[in-house]
C-alpha cells in the first residue's frame, strides 16, 4: 500500500452504488431534446390515423357514410366497426374481464367514443377526412349519475350484456351492475358496530380525474406482409403484456410481434391499458401494407383513454369513547364508465382497496364494492398509485379525522393510539393482507417534532379565536395524513394479468473489460431506471454504475416482465436485479478462487472484488474477473459472465409515511395558500436519495393537483366539460407549493435489498393531507366533511354554506 492506493471510501464512491445521489444518466439526452419518443419515430411511407368521435354520450348509430371523406385528397381508408368485424376485432377484451368496443358497434356509450378511424397520408388530411364522415345518431337518455345507475328505470347501457346475470367477477344485480366484491367478516363487524360506544358515518367521494401525462398515448404499427411480422412502437408501460395480448387477439405468432417502447414522457397508469388506437393502427397497417401512426391529442387523452378514481365511499368507524377503533365498514360505489377497463390484477376488481384499514389495528372490518356502468369514458387506472390504494388511503385518512372531530381528540393523537405496533409485524390485517414491516409511531413523532405540531395547533387556536372576534377573515388548517401503501404486485399466488403471473425479470451480461448491460422487464416513463438499476448492480458486483448500461422496452431483447406501474419496479424488478447480480458474483467467486489459487470459501467480498481472508493484499477486482471470465476460466467451466433472474416476490411491500399540510384559506374568496408541506417517507432501503426526492416532489405535485382542483367533470347531459388544460388543473412551478421531505428507513424483510418502492407514496399520502387541511380549517365552523376537489370556488361555496357570509 502507498498513498496512491485508493481508500475504501474512494473505492466505494467510484461505484456510485446504492445510497449515492447519482445524477440521472437519462437526463443527458432528455435535457438536450435528444430523447426518442414514439412521435420521433418516422418510417418511409408512414400513414396517419385519427378518430371520428361521438359528440353524444349515449346514442344509437344509425349510419356511417364515408363517401365524401374518401374523396378528400390524401385519405386512403375509413375503418368502421363493420371493417373490424371482418377480422373479428370490433370488440376487444379489457384487463378487467369485460369487453370494449374498438369502434362504435351499433351504439355509442360515452362522449368522444371512437366511431371510425380515418387513415391518410398526413395528419391534416386525416383531420379533413374526419370532418367529412357523416354519422347519423339517434340520441338516447344519458346515465351520468352513478347513484342512479341501478334505478329500476335506468336506461340499459350495455345491450351486449342483456340478460347476463353473471359477469367476470360474479353475479350482476342489475343491467348496469358490473360486480359486487366483498371482503372481511360481516357478522363480526356488524356486532362491533352494535356494541360501539361511538360511531361515525360519512360518504366520502374521490372524484374522477386523469393521469394526463405530458406525452399522450400513441403508437406506430408496421406490418411486414412478406415476413408476416408486426412491429409496434408504443407508449407502453408494459410492453411484454401488449405483445402477448396482440398475439392472443390478432392470432399472430408471438415471435413475429416486436413491441418497442422507446422513451416515454410520463405514464402514471395512463399507458398500461390497450386502447382502440392501437388496434386500429395495427389493422390499418395490415390492410394498407404501410406503417400507420396514431397520436392522441390532449382532448382525446383527457376524455377517452383511462380516467382514474371515481369512487364514492361510505365509511363507518366504530370506536370506544377513549378513541380505540373497534370496527370498520366501507361500501364503495365505483363508477367504471361504459366498459370495465380497470387496469387491476385480474382477480382484483377493486384493486387492493382492501388496504382500507390503513395503518390502524382494526380488530374487524368489512368491505363491499359495487361497480356500475355509466355513460362516461372507460378506465379506472392506478394514477400514480398502486391499484385503488390512493382511494383507500383517502377514505381511511378522512374517516379518522372525522372520528377525531367527533371524539374531540387531536387527529394525530387518535392515529398514534391506533397504530399497528412494531412488534405486531408481520401484521395480518382484518381484510386479508400481511404487512411486512413498519414503525409507524416513530415516523409520526418525527413528523410532529419536525414541524412543531403542538406549536401549530396553538397557533391555529389563536387564529380561530381571532376569526371569531372578527379580526381576521383567514382560517388555518392542519392536514395530517399517515398512509400505508401496498405495492410490488405481485406474488404469483394472488396476482396475474390475464393469467400472466406478475413476476419481473433482469438479465445481466458482463463484457470482458469490466462493463456490462442489464436488460429489464420493466419500462421507465421518467422514474430514472437507467440510473437506479445500475446503482443496485454497482453495489452488488462492484462495477461502477457508469459502466453498466440499462436497456428496457424492446421485447425482442428484454427478458419477459410485467412492466412498470403500481410502484412495482423496485419491489419486483429491483429484487430480480439483485438476484441476477448475485448469480454473477457467485460465478465470479469461482473464477477468482481459481486465479488466486485458493478455495472459494477462503475468499470474501470487498467492495469491488474478492480478497483472500487474512491476506488483504491478495485480491482480484471484478474488472479483472470479467476479463478472466472470457479468457481463462477454470477447467470445465463455460466462458462468459451473464445471468438472468425471474423474481416472483413472496409478498407485497408496504411503504408508509407521515405527511402534514399547513394551509390558510381566505373565507371571502376561497383562495388557499399552502404555507408548509412536510412529507416523511419510509420506503425501506433507499437506492438513490435524489431520485426519491424527485419522485416525492412529483407525486406531491400530482396530489396537490387532484385534491385542489384537478377533475374530469361531466355535465347533466353527459358532456365532459374538462377537456383541456384550460379547465383541467395542471399545476406548474407557479402553483406548486414548496416541498419539505424527510425519511425513516424500515427495510422490507423479504426483499433482497430491503427496498419497498416510493414512486406513488406521495400521491397516496398527499391527497388526504391536502383534503384534511381544508376540512380541518373549516371544522370549527361546524362542517364535518367537504368533498374534493377543493378549488377556490368550492372553498368559497363551503364558507357560504357554513354561514360565514351571506
Amino acid at each position: 500500500m502507498n498513498d496512491m492506493t485508493p481508500t475504501r471510501e474512494q473505492r466505494t464512491a467510484v461505484l456510485e452504488g446504492m445510497g449515492c445521489k447519482r445524477k440521472r444518466v437519462e437526463d443527458i439526452r432528455f435535457t438536450q431534446g435528444k430523447g426518442t419518443y414514439v412521435d420521433d419515430v418516422k418510417l418511409p411511407g408512414m400513414l396517419h390515423g385519427d378518430f371520428v368521435r361521438s359528440p353524444h354520450p349515449h346514442a344509437r348509430v344509425k349510419s356511417i357514410n364515408s363517401d365524401e371523406a374518401l374523396k378528400v385528397p390524401g385519405v386512403l381508408a375509413v375503418i368502421t366497426a363493420e371493417t373490424l368485424k371482418t377480422v373479428n376485432l370490433a370488440w376487444m377484451p379489457t384487463l378487467a374481464g369485460d369487453v370494449q368496443m374498438v369502434l362504435a358497434d351499433g351504439k355509442v356509450l360515452f362522449q368522444n367514443q371512437e366511431v371510425a378511424f380515418v387513415v391518410a397520408t398526413d395528419r391534416y388530411a386525416a383531420d379533413d377526412g374526419i370532418n367529412k364522415v357523416v354519422v347519423e345518431y339517434e340520441p338516447l337518455p344519458p346515465l351520468v349519475d352513478p347513484f342512479k345507475a341501478m334505478d329500476a328505470d335506468a336506461p340499459m347501457l350495455r345491450e351486449d350484456l342483456a340478460g347476463k346475470t353473471t359477469g367476470a367477477h360474479g353475479p350482476r344485480k342489475h343491467h348496469n351492475h358490473i360486480f359486487e366484491w366483498t371482503v372481511g367478516d360481516k357478522d363480526l363487524t356488524d356486532a362491533a358496530f352494535r356494541k360501539a360506544e361511538v360511531t361515525i358515518k360519512e360518504m366520502i367521494s374521490y372524484h374522477r380525474t386523469h393521469p394526463s401525462p405530458l406525452e399522450t398515448c400513441q403508437c406506430l404499427c408496421s406490418f411486414d406482409k412478406i415476413k408476416g411480422e408486426l412491429t409496434i412502437w408504443g407508449t407502453f408501460q408494459a410492453p411484454h403484456v401488449i405483445r402477448t395480448v396482440v398475439a392472443l387477439i390478432a392470432k399472430i405468432p408471438e415471435q413475429k410481434i416486436h413491441v418497442i417502447a422507446p422513451d416515454i414522457g410520463g405514464g402514471f397508469g395512463n399507458k398500461v391499458g390497450a386502447y382502440p388506437g392501437y388496434i386500429c393502427a395495427a389493422v390499418a397497417s395490415i390492410v394498407t401494407g404501410k406503417p400507420v401512426k396514431w397520436v392522441e391529442d390532449r382532448i382525446e387523452n383527457l376524455t377517452s383513454t383511462s380516467f382514474a378514481r371515481d369512487y364514492h365511499m361510505t365509511a363507518e368507524i366504530a370506536a370506544t369513547k377513549e378513541g380505540k377503533v373497534t370496527g370498520l365498514r366501507v361500501h364503495v360505489l365505483a363508477d367504471h364508465g361504459a366498459f370495465d377497463a380497470c387496469a387491476d390484477p385480474s382477480k382484483w376488481p377493486a384493486g387492493f382497496f382492501n388496504i382500507v384499514t390503513g395503518s390502524y389495528d382494526f380488530p374487524t372490518a368489512h368491505l363491499a364494492v359495487d361497480g356500475v356502468y355509466t355513460n362516461k369514458a372507460p378506465g379506472g387506472v392506478a394514477y400514480r398509485c398502486s391499484f385503488r390504494v390512493t382511494e383507500a388511503a383517502y377514505c381511511i385518512e378522512r374517516a379518522m379525522d372525522i372520528l377525531a372531530q367527533k371524539l374531540g381528540m387531536d387527529p394525530a393523537e387518535l392515529r398514534l393510539k391506533n397504530f399497528i405496533k412494531p412488534e405486531q409485524f408481520p401484521y395480518h390485517s382484518a381484510l386479508g393482507w400481511e404487512y411486512d414491516s413498519g414503525d409507524y409511531a416513530t415516523a409520526m413523532r418525527k413528523m410532529m417534532e419536525s414541524v412543531d405540531y403542538a406549536g401549530l395547533r396553538k397557533q391555529q387556536a389563536e387564529k380561530r379565536a381571532a376569526f371569531k372576534r372578527g379580526e381576521t377573515r383567514e382560517i388555518m388548517g392542519l392536514g395530517v395524513s399517515f398512509f400505508t401503501e401496498i405495492v410490488g404486485a405481485g406474488p404469483s399466488k394472488n396476482c396475474d394479468i390475464l393469467g400472466i403471473a406478475m413476476f419481473d425479470s433482469c438479465e445481466i451480461r458482463m463484457h470482458p473489460t469490466g462493463a456490462g448491460i442489464a436488460r429489464m422487464g420493466t419500462k421507465s416513463q421518467g422514474q430514472g431506471h437507467e440510473t437506479t438499476w445500475a446503482q443496485i448492480i454497482a453495489t452488488e458486483i462492484g462495477i461502477p454504475a457508469d459502466n453498466i448500461m440499462v436497456e428496457e422496452g424492446n421485447t425482442d431483447t428484454a427478458p419477459y416482465g410485467l412492466g412498470t406501474y403500481g410502484s412495482r419496479s423496485t419491489p419486483v424488478a429491483g429484487a430480480a436485479i439483485a438476484m441476477a447480480a448475485r448469480k454473477i458474483r457467485a460465478k465470479a467467486q469461482m473464477i477468482a478462487a481459481y486465479k488466486l489459487e485458493v478455495h472459494e470459501d477462503d475468499l470474501e467480498w470487498d467492495i469491488d472484488g474478492f480478497r483472500v481472508k487474512g491476506l488483504p493484499e491478495k485480491t482480484m477486482s471484478m474488472k479483472d474477473i470479467c476479463w478472466a471470465a472470457y479468457n481463462s476460466v477454470p477447467p470445465g467451466m463455460e466462458p462468459g459472465l451473464e445471468a438472468v433472474s425471474y423474481y416472483d416476490p413472496p409478498n407485497m411491500t408496504y411503504p408508509f409515511g407521515a405527511y402534514i399540510c399547513v394551509m390558510d384559506i381566505d373565507v371571502d374568496t376561497g383562495v388557499y395558500k399552502v404555507r408548509r408541506f412536510y412529507a416523511l417517507d419510509d420506503c425501506g432501503t433507499r437506492i438513490n436519495p435524489m431520485i426519491i426526492e424527485g419522485q416525492v416532489h412529483g407525486g406531491l405535485t400530482e396530489a396537490f393537483a387532484i385534491a385542489m382542483g384537478q377533475e374530469i367533470r361531466y355535465d347533466d347531459e353527459g358532456n365532459v366539460v374538462t377537456g383541456s388544460f384550460m379547465d383541467f388543473f395542471m399545476p406548474t412551478a407557479v402553483e406548486a407549493p414548496h416541498w419539505e421531505t424527510d425519511f425513516t428507513v424500515t427495510p422490507s424483510p423479504h426483499h433482497p435489498i430491503g427496498a419497498k418502492g416510493v414512486g406513488e407514496s406521495p400521491n397516496v399520502g398527499g391527497v388526504p393531507a391536502f383534503s384534511n387541511a381544508v376540512n380541518d380549517a373549516f371544522s370549527f365552523l361546524g362542517s364535518t366533511h367537504i368533498q374534493m376537489p377543493h378549488d377556490f370556488w368550492r372553498n368559497w361555496r363551503a364558507a357560504k354554506e357554513l354561514g360565514v357570509f351571506v
Partner: protein, 151 residues
C-alpha cells in the same frame, strides 16, 4: 342554459309579427346565418356559422315554429349539428306586447343545450356567448323592423 330578456322595437305589433315569420328578416338577423330556406310555413332549414371560444363550426339544421298565436307570439326552436364540433339545440318563446300603436315590446325566454366539442372547450364561455348572440339577434331585429318604419 336559460335566459330571459326583452327588446323594445319602434314598430307596430302586426309588423313585428310579420317580420318574425319572414325568412329574409330572420336570415339577416341570426348572427352568422349563411342560408335560411323555408320548406313550409313553420319549417326552415338553416346554415349558421357558430363560434364559441376556440371552436368555430358551420352548423346545419332545422328551425321549427310552433305554438303560433298571431300576433301575440310563438315558439321558435331548432337543432343543428356541426360535425366534429358537436351539436346544439334550443329554442325561444317569444311574446309580443303592444306598448303603443307604434311600439312593441318583444319578450323572449331562451333555452339552449350544446354537446360535443363545443361543450368540452366552450363550456365556460357558452352562457356569455349565448347572451351575446341573443342580444345581437334581437338588436338587429329591432333595427331591421323598427328601422324600416323610420325610413
Amino acid at each position: 342554459m336559460q335566459m330571459n330578456d326583452s327588446q323594445r322595437i319602434p314598430a307596430p305589433r302586426q309588423k313585428v309579427w310579420a317580420a318574425l315569420n319572414d325568412p329574409d328578416v330572420l336570415k339577416q338577423c341570426i348572427p352568422g346565418c349563411q342560408s335560411l330556406d323555408m320548406s313550409s310555413p313553420t319549417e326552415m332549414t338553416a346554415t349558421v356559422v357558430f363560434k364559441v371560444g376556440p371552436v368555430k363550426a358551420t352548423f346545419g339544421g332545422k328551425v321549427t315554429l310552433s305554438d303560433l298565436d298571431p300576433p301575440n307570439g310563438y315558439r321558435i326552436s331548432g337543432e343543428g349539428s356541426g360535425g366534429v364540433a358537436g351539436f346544439a339545440k334550443g329554442g325561444a318563446t317569444v311574446r309580443l306586447e303592444a306598448e303603443s300603436p307604434d311600439v312593441t315590446i318583444l319578450h323572449y325566454e331562451v333555452d339552449a343545450q350544446i354537446g360535443g366539442k363545443l361543450a368540452q372547450l366552450g363550456g365556460r364561455l357558452i352562457d356569455s356567448t349565448a347572451k351575446k348572440l341573443a342580444g345581437e339577434f334581437f338588436a338587429s331585429f329591432g333595427k331591421v323592423v323598427g328601422g324600416a318604419e323610420v325610413a
